[in-house]
């Protein structure tokens, strides 16, 4: 149901994953045996096989004792783990996806198929003249849940347990009560008392049954939305104890140590149960019934502890096969019933012994189910839904680096900016996207905003576009708030990671965008200005990545904007298209339009920008003209072919960094002349010496490194 190999102590969780997978697959084998049970009244199961088997009858009885309790025990353990990891909201969202959706979707798909298989099987059982189908019982909540009842009950138990938990958190803020419970869980398991006491609630519920066939064990609550008492009590106890075992932390090693004793206890209790049942299959009020009920409870917990302990003891390591089977088991259990029943119906009247037919059903059934998992589920959306992704742990919120020196260019501050951020702080949850940013865009200039991923570039733009509001500080756009739609009508915008409607033609997209503005270009004008006339009739979805960017650019400028935001505009463009786009941008600038450009291509900033601002970790770490930026980092790069190794020169005065790149020694230096003199004196064989100004790229790398 989930990948639970996500926390410390993951080894133990592999074992519990295996236990849960075992419980579910055992359920498949259990249902596959039901057509072979001697004395089963016809019409209840899909078919009664013509070769009944007492051995399979006993096997179903035993597996029914343990499989669902085992499942709910592990479910309780994982539920608390998940609740701890994700919190209440995350827990519910996860559970509705993994349990709620499979319940509803599974029922809608499976119920008609199961009903169909049953109709055929029952017709076969009664030789073509079946009795009328029994009506649903006329009680409120009657509903044919089928084998998916366990998901429904699980959801109800989640609700109940979380409600009780919420209450306890209030009543017991100091965890005193819960501390006592934890100690009881530990001591109860280590002294062996747990196996004898945990069965009492379900035993009492079973004793209260007025009509009880022993072979049914805990009656299956599959025909009503109001769950039956023994199932709710029995499986609820298992779930709650699983939850408590996760809470108490040190219980799993105890369960592991005592695996053999518990399995022994389970076997003894089970043998006693089978013997009682052999004498008297239907419960009569009295001592025997009460003894049977109590022994049943003991057997449940003997098996639950024994099997869980054995898994912890022997299956704790990671195994790819076990993991695969554990992942597959959920789907297989959900989907198995019609497949298994259909196979039972098919072979039901074959003149063969059950010892041939039962394995045949299992082999064919598991074959079909595993194949369907492998091809139809594991690689698809269903698999993602059922098995989930690893729940990633939240990264601690990146604290803003306060060490970075803020360098703002004071020149030209007299000009009224067309857009500005003043002391803007913006947080998303625990992450600070902008930590006090000041930025100006002046009339007619192109401001290039540079910075590594996550530096806050896109957040800054989204504030200007009115998509977010700052937590503090002031955002100004064309003299006012960007929240006013009238102001935004004077913007053009080209966003990153935006896909337009694939089914619309380029002409239609431009017409739609143009319809938003007061005085837009005509479609033809926009097509011509951006040079994409040839694409006008094409569907957007059929365009190449570069062509899409060109269309987005046309949408950005079709409203004749005063201020244009371009977020990574030339990604995916070929050189020719990029040059054309640059030319368009220069023409817009010449017309007095201001542009804010974010880019990863430094040559793009060098080619177009009037000013550059570098963002890192939510702060402006530098801003100024291209030349200012270069001067800011007055470092030069020395390249040569030399016998010297980087390690030899790293300690030299004036050397910032030395590396080797394609056989050449590459040195970044603050004092290039001194370093070159020393290089030549030390290495007489030195060749191909080259010294150059650091480009924007180096300046940029240097700056962001300092900020880090």
């Amino acid at each position: 149901m989930t990948s639970h190999t996500l926390s410390a102590g993951g080894d133990r969780l592999h074992a519990l994953d295996a236990v849960r997978g075992f419980a579910l697959l055992l359920g498949v084998a259990f249902h596959a045996a039901l057509s072979f049970i001697p004395g089963m009244p016809p019409g209840i199961w899909a078919i009664n096989d013509n070769s009944p088997s007492a051995a399979l009858g006993a096997a179903t009885f035993i597996s029914h004792i343990l499989r669902m309790s085992l499942f709910f025990f592990v479910a309780g353990f994982f539920a608390r783990l998940l609740h701890q990891k994700l919190g209440a909201r995350g827990f519910w969202s996860n559970r509705l996806k993994r349990i709620g959706i499979p319940l509803v979707a599974g029922w809608v798909v499976l119920f008609p198929i199961i009903a169909y298989v049953w109709t055929i099987g029952i017709a076969k059982t009664f030789g073509g003249a079946p009795p009328p189908m029994p009506e649903m019982p006329k009680v409120a909540g009657a509903f044919p849940l089928t084998h998916l009842w366990f998901l429904y009950l699980l959801l109800l138990i989640y609700v109940a347990v979380l409600a009780v938990r919420a209450l306890l958190v209030r009543l017991d803020p100091a965890q005193k009560m819960r501390g006592v419970v934890d100690r009881m869980v530990v001591s109860g398991t280590s002294t062996g008392v747990a196996a004898f006491t945990l069965g009492i609630p379900v035993a009492v519920a079973l004793m209260a049954q007025t009509f009880w066939i022993y072979g049914m064990g805990i009656p299956t609550p599959d025909s009503s939305l109001i769950p039956l008492l023994p199932a709710s009590v029995g499986y609820g106890t298992a779930f709650v104890f699983g939850w408590l075992v996760h809470r108490a932390k040190d219980v799993l090693p105890v369960i592991e140590r005592r695996w053999a004793i518990h399995l022994g206890l389970a076997v003894v209790a089970t043998v006693a149960l089978v013997m009682i049942m052999g004498d008297q299959p239907v419960a009569q009020p009295g001592l025997t019934k009460n003894a049977f009920a109590y022994l049943y409870g003991v057997a449940i917990w003997g098996w639950v502890f024994g099997l869980t302990g054995a898994a912890l003891r022997f299956l704790s390591g990671f195994s790819a096969t076990r993991r695969y089977v554990a992942d597959a088991s959920y789907w297989i259990y959900l989907a198995h019933l019609p497949v298994i029943a259909a196979l039972q119906v098919w072979v039901g009247h074959w003149p063969l012994h059950w010892s041939v037919k039962y394995p045949l059903i299992l082999i064919a059934g598991f074959g079909i189910l595993f194949a369907s998992y492998h091809w139809l589920v594991r690689p698809t959306l269903i698999g993602q839904l059922l098995n989930g992704r690893r729940v990633r742990r939240r990264k601690a919120g990146a604290a803003p680096a306060a060490t970075a020196s803020e360098r703002t260019n004071a020149a030209d501050d007299r000009v009224t900016p067309v857009a500005s951020l003043r002391g803007v702080v913006k947080k998303f949850g625990a992450t600070t996207a902008l930590a006090g940013v000041d930025l100006d865009v002046r009339p007619g200039e192109l401001l290039a905003v540079l910075g590594p991923n996550g530096a806050g570039k896109s957040t800054a733009i989204s504030l200007w576009l009115g998509l977010h509001e700052p937590d503090s500080g002031e955002v100004m756009l064309l003299g006012g708030s960007p929240q006013d739609v009238e102001r935004r009508r004077r913007l053009g915008v080209m966003m990153q990671d935006v896909d337009l409607v694939k089914e619309l033609r380029v002409r239609e997209l431009i017409a739609l965008a143009a319809s938003y503005y007061t005085d837009p270009m005509t479609v033809e004008q926009a097509l011509n200005v951006t040079g994409i006339g040839a694409l006008a009739g094409r569907l957007y979805g059929k365009l190449s990545g570069g062509q899409k960017r060109q269309v987005q650019f046309a949408l950005a400028i079709c409203g004749r904007p005063k201020l244009l935001f371009l977020d990574e505009p030339t990604v995916g463009l070929d050189i020719e298209a990029r040059e054309a786009l640059w030319a368009s941008i220069r023409a817009l600038l010449a017309d007095g339009c201001s542009v804010v450009l974010t880019t990863h291509y430094l040559e793009e900033a060098e080619a177009l920008a009037t000013r550059v601002a570098v963002l890192a970790r939510g702060r402006v770490i530098a801003s100024g003209s291209i030349d200012d930026m270069r001067a800011l980092v007055a470092r030069r790069q020395i390249t040569c072919e030399s016998a010297l190794m980087p390690a030899d020169v790293r300690g030299w005065e004036g050397v910032v960094e030395a590396t080797r790149d394609r056989g050449k020694l590459v040195i970044t230096a603050t004092d290039a002349e001194t370093v070159v003199r020393r290089l030549l004196s030390v290495d007489a064989t030195l060749r191909r010496l080259e010294v150059r100004e650091a480009g924007l790229s180096e300046a940029f790398t240097e700056l962001t490194k300092e900020a880090a």
């Binding site: 409120a140 003299g479 102001r487 896909d499 619309l504 739609l512 007061t518």
Partner: protein, 261 residues
């Protein structure tokens, strides 16, 4: 950068109307060009209606004319509600996922134009799916209603599509674009079975029918057509329930959009 400049940027009403119309036309074209949506939505209801009401149950309807109206109503509910739910839900979820909604807001599209466009387009698709059913029913003579009754029923059905528009919006605010049709089916299909719209349910399952909007749309249609045999709740309750669903879904969707975008 002052009030005068801003005033000049006020968009004239005619252009504003034009923006709404263009948006609606684009939304409609887009749905029409998405075969995965257009084909099932347009062909399934009329196809199933012909199969079940005309071929399979044709004889029975001759004997019991209200049955003809019952079957017609069932598939007509499907015809109008499916596009309302799927066109609106799937396209909004996709737009949220690929950033279109953010872009539209920044561009700046008139507030709510996308919403009007989606609802109008969903309803128009409903009419497109519903019309051939009416033609088929009249041609085959399987719908014993007079003109006024048929008109009343058609209006009831179209109004009944609105809560499904709202449901589509709500679903779209919770799930990703690729998952939206799946989740929409998930809430839609059980409702078709469990509302008793297609076949009468055993009495023990009646308690849960009011939870499905389909049930109330169907009831509204039954009242409009005057088929007393299949009226299980007063007309005011049906209308009230549909209004309630619309408000509920709409409020949740609005809340989610405001908080998650």
């Amino acid at each position: 950068m002052n009030a005068a400049v801003l005033h000049a940027d006020k968009i004239p009403t005619s252009r504003l109307l034009g923006a709404y119309l263009t948006e609606t036309r684009c939304e409609f074209m887009r749905n029409l060009r998405t075969p995965a949506i257009a084909l099932p939505v347009l062909l399934l209801p009329v196809g199933l209606y012909l199969l079940f009401a005309v071929l399979i149950a044709g004889e029975a309807i001759v004997k019991d004319p209200p049955l003809g109206i019952f079957l017609f109503s069932a598939f007509a509910v499907m015809a109008v509600t499916m596009p309302a739910l799927f066109n609106v839900g799937a396209s909004l979820a996709m737009e949220r996922e690929n950033g279109m909604l953010r872009l539209k807001r920044a561009q700046p599209a008139p507030a709510g134009s996308w919403l009007v466009a989606k609802i109008a387009s969903g309803l128009a698709f409903g009419v497109l799916a519903y019309t051939p059913m009416v033609v088929a029913a009249i041609v085959t003579g399987k719908l014993p209603l007079d003109g006024a009754q048929l008109a009343g029923m058609s209006v009831a059905l179209l109004l009944g599509a609105l809560p499904f528009c709202a449901l589509g919006l709500m679903i779209a605010t919770f799930v990703s674009g690729s998952a939206a049709p799946g989740y929409a089916n998930l809430v839609y299909l059980p409702g078709c079975y469990l509302s008793g719209m297609f076949f009468p349910l055993p009495a023990s399952m009646h308690w849960q029918t009011p939870f499905w909007p389909q049930f109330h749309v169907n009831q509204l249609a039954m009242h409009a057509a005057g088929v007393e045999k299949f009226q299980f709740e007063p007309v005011a309750v049906a209308a009230g329930a549909l209004l309630g669903f619309t408000v509920l879904f709409g409020v949740v969707a609005t809340w989610r959009l405001a908080h998650k975008g």
